[in-house]
Protein backbone atom coordinates (compact mmCIF):
# COMPACT_ATOMS: atom_id res chain seq x y z
CA UNK A 1 0.00 0.00 0.00
CA UNK A 2 1.30 3.41 -0.91
CA UNK A 3 0.84 4.81 2.56
CA UNK A 4 2.82 2.00 4.10
CA UNK A 5 5.58 2.33 1.54
CA UNK A 6 5.71 6.06 2.01
CA UNK A 7 5.82 5.80 5.77
CA UNK A 8 8.51 3.16 5.52
CA UNK A 9 10.60 5.67 3.60
CA UNK A 10 9.71 8.33 6.15
CA UNK A 11 10.21 6.26 9.30
CA UNK A 12 13.52 7.89 10.16
CA UNK A 13 11.86 11.27 9.98
CA UNK A 14 9.07 10.50 12.43
CA UNK A 15 9.23 12.07 15.82
CA UNK A 16 7.29 10.84 18.84
CA UNK A 17 4.16 12.79 19.65
CA UNK A 18 4.20 14.66 22.92
CA UNK A 19 7.94 15.03 23.08
CA UNK A 20 7.80 18.80 22.88
CA UNK A 21 6.14 19.28 26.26
CA UNK A 22 8.55 16.83 27.85
CA UNK A 23 11.68 18.31 26.35
CA UNK A 24 10.78 21.98 26.69
CA UNK A 25 11.66 23.14 23.21
CA UNK A 26 13.44 26.40 22.80
CA UNK A 27 12.11 29.50 21.16
CA UNK A 28 12.62 29.56 17.43
CA UNK A 29 14.95 31.82 15.53
CA UNK A 30 18.32 30.29 16.24
CA UNK A 31 20.25 27.18 17.21
CA UNK A 32 18.43 24.54 19.16
CA UNK A 33 20.45 23.81 22.28
CA UNK A 34 20.63 20.42 23.94
CA UNK A 35 21.61 18.60 20.78
CA UNK A 36 23.67 15.42 20.76
CA UNK A 37 27.38 16.27 21.14
CA UNK A 38 29.18 16.12 17.83
CA UNK A 39 26.00 16.74 15.88
CA UNK A 40 26.42 19.62 13.43
CA UNK A 41 24.36 22.61 14.58
CA UNK A 42 21.67 23.86 12.25
CA UNK A 43 19.50 26.95 12.44
CA UNK A 44 15.81 27.33 11.69
CA UNK A 45 16.34 28.71 8.20
CA UNK A 46 18.49 25.72 7.22
CA UNK A 47 15.79 23.42 8.53
CA UNK A 48 13.10 25.27 6.58
CA UNK A 49 15.22 25.03 3.42
CA UNK A 50 15.70 21.29 3.82
CA UNK A 51 12.47 20.21 5.48
CA UNK A 52 11.05 18.58 2.35
CA UNK A 53 14.35 16.80 1.65
CA UNK A 54 14.34 15.65 5.28
CA UNK A 55 10.75 14.37 5.13
CA UNK A 56 11.55 12.57 1.88
CA UNK A 57 14.63 10.93 3.43
CA UNK A 58 16.83 12.48 0.74
CA UNK A 59 19.64 13.84 2.94
CA UNK A 60 22.82 12.24 4.20
CA UNK A 61 22.48 10.41 7.51
CA UNK A 62 24.50 13.12 9.32
CA UNK A 63 22.24 15.82 7.97
CA UNK A 64 19.12 13.79 8.79
CA UNK A 65 20.34 13.43 12.37
CA UNK A 66 21.18 17.12 12.68
CA UNK A 67 17.80 18.25 11.37
CA UNK A 68 15.92 15.71 13.45
CA UNK A 69 17.78 16.96 16.52
CA UNK A 70 16.81 20.53 15.74
CA UNK A 71 13.15 19.76 15.06
CA UNK A 72 12.84 17.77 18.28
CA UNK A 73 13.84 20.83 20.26
CA UNK A 74 12.57 23.79 18.27
CA UNK A 75 9.08 25.02 18.95
CA UNK A 76 9.04 27.05 15.74
CA UNK A 77 10.10 24.25 13.39
CA UNK A 78 8.20 21.37 14.99
CA UNK A 79 4.68 22.61 14.12
CA UNK A 80 5.67 23.06 10.49
CA UNK A 81 7.29 19.64 10.44
CA UNK A 82 4.06 18.15 11.83
CA UNK A 83 1.92 20.06 9.31
CA UNK A 84 4.03 18.95 6.32
CA UNK A 85 4.21 15.37 7.53
CA UNK A 86 0.42 15.14 7.87
CA UNK A 87 0.08 16.68 4.40
CA UNK A 88 2.38 14.06 2.87
CA UNK A 89 0.50 11.24 4.62
CA UNK A 90 -2.81 12.55 3.22
CA UNK A 91 -1.37 12.67 -0.31
CA UNK A 92 0.24 9.22 -0.04
CA UNK A 93 -3.11 7.79 1.05
CA UNK A 94 -4.53 8.62 -2.39
CA UNK A 95 -2.59 5.71 -3.92
CA UNK A 96 -5.20 3.19 -5.03
CA UNK A 97 -5.00 -0.59 -4.88
CA UNK A 98 -6.14 -2.61 -7.87
CA UNK A 99 -9.25 -4.64 -7.06
CA UNK A 100 -8.05 -7.77 -8.91
CA UNK A 101 -4.29 -7.76 -9.59
CA UNK A 102 -4.26 -11.45 -10.59
CA UNK A 103 -6.85 -10.83 -13.28
CA UNK A 104 -4.78 -7.92 -14.62
CA UNK A 105 -1.60 -10.02 -14.58
CA UNK A 106 -3.37 -12.76 -16.55
CA UNK A 107 -4.68 -10.19 -19.02
CA UNK A 108 -1.23 -8.66 -19.57
CA UNK A 109 0.38 -12.11 -19.90
CA UNK A 110 -2.21 -13.14 -22.51
CA UNK A 111 -1.63 -9.95 -24.49
CA UNK A 112 2.14 -10.46 -24.38
CA UNK A 113 1.78 -14.08 -25.43
CA UNK A 114 -0.31 -12.96 -28.40
CA UNK A 115 2.53 -10.55 -29.20
CA UNK A 116 5.01 -13.45 -29.23
CA UNK A 117 6.34 -13.64 -25.66
CA UNK A 118 7.08 -17.27 -24.86
CA UNK A 119 6.22 -18.89 -21.56
CA UNK A 120 9.14 -19.41 -19.21
Amino acid sequence: MAVVAHWRRMRDTELPRGHLAAQRPQSGGGMAPGMVPGTPMVDCESVMRQLWDYLDGELTSDRMTAIRGHIELCKRCYPQYEFEQSFLAAIAARGQQHSDPQQLRARVSDALRAQGLRDA
Binding site: L20, G28, D53, A92
Partner: protein
Amino acid sequence: MPATVMRDGTKQVRDRQFRSEALRWLPEVTRYAMSLERDEANADDLVQETFLKAYEAWGTYTPGTECRGWLFTICRHTFYRRRRREERQVSYDDPDLEALAAAAVHTSARQGGYADLFTRFDLSDAIDRAIANLPDAFRDVVLLIDVNDQSYEAAAAALGVPIGTVRSRLFRARRLLQEALIAHARDSGLVPASATVQGGSADEPTNAP
Protein backbone atom coordinates in the same frame (compact mmCIF):
# COMPACT_ATOMS: atom_id res chain seq x y z
CA MET B 1 24.00 -24.07 -36.16
CA PRO B 2 21.07 -23.13 -38.40
CA ALA B 3 20.10 -19.45 -38.31
CA THR B 4 16.55 -20.27 -37.19
CA VAL B 5 17.84 -22.13 -34.12
CA MET B 6 20.10 -19.20 -33.26
CA ARG B 7 17.24 -16.76 -33.66
CA ASP B 8 15.05 -18.97 -31.45
CA GLY B 9 17.78 -19.09 -28.82
CA THR B 10 18.18 -15.32 -28.85
CA LYS B 11 14.45 -14.80 -28.57
CA GLN B 12 14.28 -17.24 -25.69
CA VAL B 13 16.95 -15.29 -23.79
CA ARG B 14 15.24 -12.00 -24.62
CA ASP B 15 11.86 -13.28 -23.44
CA ARG B 16 13.35 -14.70 -20.25
CA GLN B 17 15.01 -11.36 -19.58
CA PHE B 18 11.75 -9.52 -20.19
CA ARG B 19 9.91 -11.78 -17.78
CA SER B 20 12.47 -11.44 -15.01
CA GLU B 21 13.31 -7.76 -15.39
CA ALA B 22 10.14 -6.12 -16.69
CA LEU B 23 7.16 -8.21 -15.62
CA ARG B 24 8.27 -8.21 -11.99
CA TRP B 25 7.34 -4.52 -11.86
CA LEU B 26 3.73 -5.15 -12.85
CA PRO B 27 2.34 -4.24 -9.37
CA GLU B 28 4.31 -0.97 -9.29
CA VAL B 29 3.33 -0.05 -12.85
CA THR B 30 -0.29 -0.87 -11.97
CA ARG B 31 -0.22 1.44 -8.97
CA TYR B 32 1.34 4.19 -11.05
CA ALA B 33 -1.25 3.70 -13.81
CA MET B 34 -4.02 3.82 -11.20
CA SER B 35 -2.72 7.17 -9.99
CA LEU B 36 -2.67 8.53 -13.55
CA GLU B 37 -6.03 7.05 -14.55
CA ARG B 38 -8.34 7.10 -11.58
CA ASP B 39 -10.68 4.70 -13.38
CA GLU B 40 -9.58 1.08 -12.99
CA ALA B 41 -10.68 -0.08 -16.45
CA ASN B 42 -8.68 2.71 -18.07
CA ALA B 43 -5.73 1.90 -15.81
CA ASP B 44 -5.89 -1.76 -16.96
CA ASP B 45 -5.73 -0.65 -20.59
CA LEU B 46 -2.82 1.62 -19.78
CA VAL B 47 -0.90 -1.15 -18.00
CA GLN B 48 -1.43 -3.58 -20.87
CA GLU B 49 -0.35 -1.03 -23.46
CA THR B 50 2.70 -0.15 -21.37
CA PHE B 51 3.91 -3.75 -21.25
CA LEU B 52 3.19 -4.38 -24.91
CA LYS B 53 5.23 -1.32 -25.84
CA ALA B 54 7.96 -2.32 -23.44
CA TYR B 55 8.12 -5.78 -25.00
CA GLU B 56 8.28 -4.30 -28.45
CA ALA B 57 11.04 -1.90 -27.39
CA TRP B 58 12.90 -4.40 -25.21
CA GLY B 59 15.87 -4.29 -27.55
CA THR B 60 16.44 -0.64 -26.57
CA TYR B 61 16.51 -1.40 -22.87
CA THR B 62 19.92 -1.90 -21.31
CA PRO B 63 19.73 -4.93 -18.99
CA GLY B 64 20.61 -4.15 -15.40
CA THR B 65 19.58 -0.50 -15.57
CA GLU B 66 16.56 1.03 -13.82
CA CYS B 67 13.81 -1.03 -15.45
CA ARG B 68 11.04 0.30 -13.20
CA GLY B 69 11.84 3.90 -14.17
CA TRP B 70 11.97 2.86 -17.84
CA LEU B 71 8.51 1.30 -17.54
CA PHE B 72 7.16 4.36 -15.70
CA THR B 73 8.43 6.52 -18.57
CA ILE B 74 6.63 4.37 -21.14
CA CYS B 75 3.50 4.38 -18.98
CA ARG B 76 3.53 8.16 -18.61
CA HIS B 77 4.13 8.79 -22.32
CA THR B 78 1.38 6.35 -23.21
CA PHE B 79 -0.99 8.05 -20.79
CA TYR B 80 -0.36 11.47 -22.32
CA ARG B 81 -0.67 10.14 -25.84
CA ARG B 82 -3.95 8.44 -24.99
CA ARG B 83 -5.22 11.68 -23.56
CA ARG B 84 -3.83 13.61 -26.53
CA ARG B 85 -2.27 15.93 -24.02
CA GLU B 86 1.00 17.63 -24.52
CA GLU B 87 3.44 17.64 -21.67
CA ARG B 88 3.64 21.35 -21.13
CA GLN B 89 6.86 23.03 -20.26
CA VAL B 90 6.61 24.94 -17.03
CA SER B 91 8.86 27.49 -15.50
CA TYR B 92 10.10 26.77 -12.04
CA ASP B 93 11.73 28.63 -9.25
CA ASP B 94 14.72 27.93 -7.11
CA PRO B 95 13.86 24.85 -4.98
CA ASP B 96 15.31 26.52 -1.89
CA LEU B 97 12.96 29.46 -2.34
CA GLU B 98 10.08 27.07 -2.82
CA ALA B 99 11.03 25.26 0.37
CA LEU B 100 10.99 28.57 2.25
CA ALA B 101 7.64 29.44 0.68
CA ALA B 102 6.25 26.32 2.36
CA ALA B 103 6.83 28.04 5.69
CA ALA B 104 4.61 30.91 4.53
CA VAL B 105 1.84 28.47 3.59
CA HIS B 106 2.08 26.86 7.00
CA THR B 107 1.87 30.26 8.69
CA SER B 108 -1.21 31.07 6.63
CA ALA B 109 -2.80 27.73 7.57
CA ARG B 110 -2.04 28.28 11.24
CA GLN B 111 -3.42 31.80 11.22
CA GLY B 112 -6.59 30.54 9.54
CA GLY B 113 -6.99 27.83 12.19
CA TYR B 114 -6.10 25.02 9.80
CA ALA B 115 -2.82 23.80 11.29
CA ASP B 116 -4.38 20.34 11.69
CA LEU B 117 -6.23 20.45 8.38
CA PHE B 118 -4.83 17.15 7.11
CA THR B 119 -5.50 15.15 10.24
CA ARG B 120 -8.89 16.58 11.22
CA PHE B 121 -10.76 16.39 7.92
CA ASP B 122 -11.23 13.81 5.19
CA LEU B 123 -9.95 15.68 2.17
CA SER B 124 -9.76 12.69 -0.20
CA ASP B 125 -11.93 14.15 -2.96
CA ALA B 126 -10.41 17.61 -2.65
CA ILE B 127 -6.91 16.09 -2.86
CA ASP B 128 -7.82 14.14 -6.00
CA ARG B 129 -9.21 17.30 -7.59
CA ALA B 130 -6.22 19.38 -6.56
CA ILE B 131 -3.79 16.81 -7.99
CA ALA B 132 -5.82 16.59 -11.22
CA ASN B 133 -5.73 20.38 -11.54
CA LEU B 134 -1.96 20.64 -11.28
CA PRO B 135 -0.03 21.41 -14.47
CA ASP B 136 1.19 18.10 -15.92
CA ALA B 137 4.85 18.62 -15.04
CA PHE B 138 3.98 19.21 -11.39
CA ARG B 139 1.43 16.41 -11.31
CA ASP B 140 4.05 14.00 -12.67
CA VAL B 141 6.42 14.49 -9.75
CA VAL B 142 3.68 14.34 -7.12
CA LEU B 143 2.35 11.07 -8.53
CA LEU B 144 5.80 9.51 -8.78
CA ILE B 145 7.20 10.67 -5.44
CA ASP B 146 4.30 11.37 -3.09
CA VAL B 147 1.82 8.75 -4.31
CA ASN B 148 4.12 6.07 -5.76
CA ASP B 149 6.96 6.44 -3.28
CA GLN B 150 9.78 6.99 -5.77
CA SER B 151 13.02 8.67 -4.77
CA TYR B 152 14.06 11.97 -6.36
CA GLU B 153 16.65 10.08 -8.39
CA ALA B 154 14.18 7.47 -9.68
CA ALA B 155 11.67 10.18 -10.57
CA ALA B 156 14.36 12.13 -12.40
CA ALA B 157 15.24 9.00 -14.40
CA ALA B 158 11.59 8.29 -15.21
CA LEU B 159 10.94 11.87 -16.30
CA GLY B 160 14.27 12.36 -18.05
CA VAL B 161 15.05 15.58 -16.15
CA PRO B 162 17.79 16.52 -13.65
CA ILE B 163 17.20 15.93 -9.93
CA GLY B 164 17.23 19.70 -9.33
CA THR B 165 14.27 20.05 -11.66
CA VAL B 166 12.43 17.28 -9.82
CA ARG B 167 13.01 19.02 -6.48
CA SER B 168 11.84 22.41 -7.65
CA ARG B 169 8.76 21.01 -9.39
CA LEU B 170 7.93 18.85 -6.39
CA PHE B 171 8.22 21.66 -3.87
CA ARG B 172 6.19 24.00 -6.06
CA ALA B 173 3.57 21.28 -6.60
CA ARG B 174 3.26 20.69 -2.86
CA ARG B 175 2.81 24.39 -2.25
CA LEU B 176 0.11 24.59 -4.94
CA LEU B 177 -1.67 21.60 -3.44
CA GLN B 178 -1.56 23.03 0.06
CA GLU B 179 -2.85 26.39 -1.11
CA ALA B 180 -5.68 24.68 -3.01
CA LEU B 181 -6.61 22.55 0.00
CA ILE B 182 -6.57 25.47 2.42
CA ALA B 183 -8.76 27.44 -0.01
CA HIS B 184 -11.06 24.41 -0.26
CA ALA B 185 -11.33 24.26 3.54
CA ARG B 186 -12.24 27.94 3.72
CA ASP B 187 -14.69 27.81 0.79
CA SER B 188 -16.38 24.65 2.08
CA GLY B 189 -16.88 26.13 5.51
CA LEU B 190 -14.74 23.53 7.26
CA VAL B 191 -14.58 24.88 10.77
CA PRO B 192 -11.13 26.14 11.76
CA ALA B 193 -9.70 24.62 14.92
CA SER B 194 -9.49 28.08 16.46
CA ALA B 195 -13.29 28.33 16.27
CA THR B 196 -13.86 25.17 18.26
CA VAL B 197 -10.85 24.75 20.53
CA GLN B 198 -9.73 27.18 23.15
CA GLY B 199 -5.94 27.33 23.24
CA GLY B 200 -3.58 24.81 21.64
CA SER B 201 -3.17 21.10 22.14
CA ALA B 202 -0.76 19.73 24.71
CA ASP B 203 1.81 19.11 22.00
CA GLU B 204 1.51 22.44 20.34
CA PRO B 205 3.58 25.32 21.60
CA THR B 206 1.51 28.29 22.67
CA ASN B 207 4.11 30.97 22.15
CA ALA B 208 5.49 30.04 18.76
CA PRO B 209 6.29 33.13 16.71
